[in-house]
């Protein structure tokens, strides 16, 4: 026995030597991720104290759940949570419908050059930042000078203040977000379509199925698994209404319909220096998101056999 175990130890040691370079490769990344992702997780204790910068994280007085009570007692809080969920869900639902529709339309195109050109053009907005697109939108949608309102007034309607009217602002957010992303989102669905066996289409055609029926009974079912997967994964972003876009387009007159959790955290935390309150709101969002993302990944793994790593 003694002999055997010493042999085992020997083998373990040689295995360790073999794997040592792998640990060394991971080390720099692990250090950076630890400092800039894990240490901030420790910082969430600030949510339970009244953080005073001069006293530091360990010297500041402990207040328990006060910051959370404060957050939920703010008059705007319920509005902000509702805005976040409404905007995010509208983006997910309509984004999905437009993307699937676009995929089906592209799929009916047989001229390769035309398909390629359309794809090239509709992907472009995805690669531009919200600063660039926001600048363009603000110019285009301006009530007095923008080209969109020129067209609307030309048709005899009144000017619409897309970015300043609470009735129109969420609509503007959803449409402009879809404009930016729908093209690029088709990639995943188009990839799924390439795996459909062409023989299915041929035999359906021989049996006299129209193009419409082939789309309905072959293409759509072929896309179904990836649609299910995408819907499941999007569950995780129900609290992500798109911070960068909203931040760029938001102005105080549309806080009522467009202020979201992330913009509220930014304003309270880094502009008004209410560190603890902002951390508490952020923590509320992180935990809810964590549960949602965890559930969505679990469901995706369970039903679509999806694994990230």
């Amino acid at each position: 026995m003694v002999f055997l175990s010493s042999l085992g130890g020997e083998r373990l040691r040689s295995r360790f030597r073999l794997e040592l370079p792998l640990h060394m490769m991971l080390l720099p990344g692990v250090i950076i991720v630890f400092i800039y992702h894990y240490l901030p997780m420790g910082g969430i204790i600030m949510a339970f104290e009244n953080y005073v910068p001069t006293k530091g994280m360990f010297g500041s007085p402990w207040v328990g759940w006060d910051n959370f009570t404060y957050f939920f007692s703010l008059p705007d809080t319920h509005q902000v949570i509702r805005n976040t969920v409404v905007i995010a869900v509208l983006k997910i639902v309509f984004g999905l419908i437009v993307t699937i529709g676009m995929t089906l339309l592209l799929n009916e195109i047989s001229k390769v050059w035309f398909k390629r050109s359309v794809q090239t053009l509709v992907y472009i907005p995805h690669f531009l930042s919200w600063i660039i697109l926001g600048g363009i939108l603000i110019d285009m949608l301006s009530p007095s000078e923008g080209i969109v309102n020129k067209v609307i007034t030309g048709l005899g309607f009144g000017e619409i203040f897309f970015l300043g009217d609470n009735g129109w602002f969420p609509f503007t957010l959803v449409v402009s977000d879809i404009w930016k992303e729908f093209g690029f989102s088709t990639i995943v669905y188009l990839a799924a379509l390439t795996s459909i066996n062409p023989a299915l289409y041929e035999s359906a055609a021989i049996d006299g199925a129209s193009h419409w029926r082939r789309m309905l009974h072959i293409t759509l079912p072929g896309m179904l698994p990836i649609i299910v997967l995408m819907v499941t994964l999007s569950l995780g972003s129900v609290l992500n209404a798109g911070f960068e876009q909203v931040y760029v387009l938001l102005s105080p007159q549309v806080y009522e319909s467009g202020d979201i959790i992330d913009t509220m955290v930014y304003r309270m935390g880094l502009q008004q220096m209410q560190y603890s309150a902002a951390t508490a709101i952020g923590l509320f969002k992180s935990i809810t998101s964590f549960l949602l993302i965890g559930t969505s990944y679990w469901l995706a793994y369970r039903f679509a056999n999806y694994r990230i790593f």
């Binding site: 910082g43 600030m46 592209l106 600048g135 080209i147 990839a191 960068e244 935390g269």
Partner: protein, 295 residues
């Protein structure tokens, strides 16, 4: 097999071509209009005559912007950030993806490391604690605040890892039998073989760094340290440009307006992306598909 198209099919196909052409036009129109405005004279823009072609063509807006020191400083910060940030990201990406591409049988602690990186996708400390950590590690107001905290893009690690996994395993094993260690195998075999993958992720990394602006705004105290996109945020969205229009020679100013200047700056901010886009497009289909859809 050849099918005779019915009239309704023909109608649909023509409609479909027209619709897709229109959709493409809608995607491009805002960008084209912005470029047209930037090359038009201020008076033409103000009178609303500019749609997709420049009216009273002039490059004055660009000449003014390119002579603006604050703008050029911001361009340099962005260039610096892209060079530093992308090199660091690519280095770490390869170093992390290689060990994680091994099976558990070859690397016992793989699962532990996978979870270590996975958790950062699932949970984050939030804006304020992250800000305080960056402040306390002394990165505020330095270019490193834009480079180091985001140096490990986990989703790109997943893509890279899949590129490595798609390489024939025998190649690595053969190298091992010939006495090469992990470092030699990675540098001499894996990296040269996954050049297309690395090129794709490099382009993504360049686009990502060029486009980021929010970190610039929160981690840079003085606007003179802003990268270009953060600078554009403060100039273009805050509607405060006219105040800067004072010193330069009046002959140029006559042709300018707030809108042409903003459009020129937005155009310059988008220019590098539009420039690398054709190369990007060639690769990303493959990259995205490999990374996101696995069976």
């Amino acid at each position: 097999m050849v099918e005779r198209a019915t009239w309704s099919r023909k109608l649909f196909l023509n409609f479909n071509y027209a619709l897709l052409a229109f959709i493409s036009f809608l995607c491009l129109f805002p960008i084209v209009q912005m470029i047209a405005i930037s090359f038009s004279s201020g008076t033409a823009v103000a009178s609303g005559r500019v749609t997709i072609f420049p009216v009273e063509f002039t490059t004055d807006a660009y000449r003014y912007v390119l002579r603006n020191k604050a703008f050029m400083d911001a361009v340099w910060v962005s260039v610096e950030r892209v060079l530093l940030g992308c090199s660091l990201q690519m280095l770490l990406l390869v170093l992390i993806a290689y060990p994680l591409s091994k099976e558990v049988s070859a690397f016992r602690h793989r699962t532990l490391y996978v979870w270590f990186f996975m958790i950062t996708i699932l949970f984050s400390g939030g804006l304020v604690p992250t800000y305080l950590v960056i402040k306390n590690t002394g990165l505020l107001d330095s270019i490193w605040a834009l480079v180091i905290p985001g140096a490990v893009p986990v989703f790109s690690v997943v893509l890279m890892l899949n590129f490595f996994r798609s390489l024939p395993k025998e190649m690595g094993e053969a190298a091992f039998i010939d006495g090469a260690g992990h470092w030699t195998t990675l540098i001499k075999i894996y990296i040269p073989l996954s050049k297309p993958g690395i090129a794709t992720l490099l382009l993504f990394s360049v686009v990502g760094h060029w486009n980021s602006w929010f970190d610039g705004i929160i981690y840079m105290n003085s606007p003179s340290n802003y990268p270009l996109q953060s600078y554009l945020q403060s100039i273009v969205l805050m509607k405060q440009d006219s105040s800067a229009l004072s010193v330069l020679d009046q002959s140029i100013l006559a042709n300018l307006s707030d809108r042409t200047l903003k459009s020129a700056q937005i155009g310059l901010g988008a220019f590098p992306i539009l420039l690398v886009y054709p190369f990007l497009q060639k690769y990303f289909m493959k990259g995205i598909v490999l990374g996101s859809v696995k069976e």
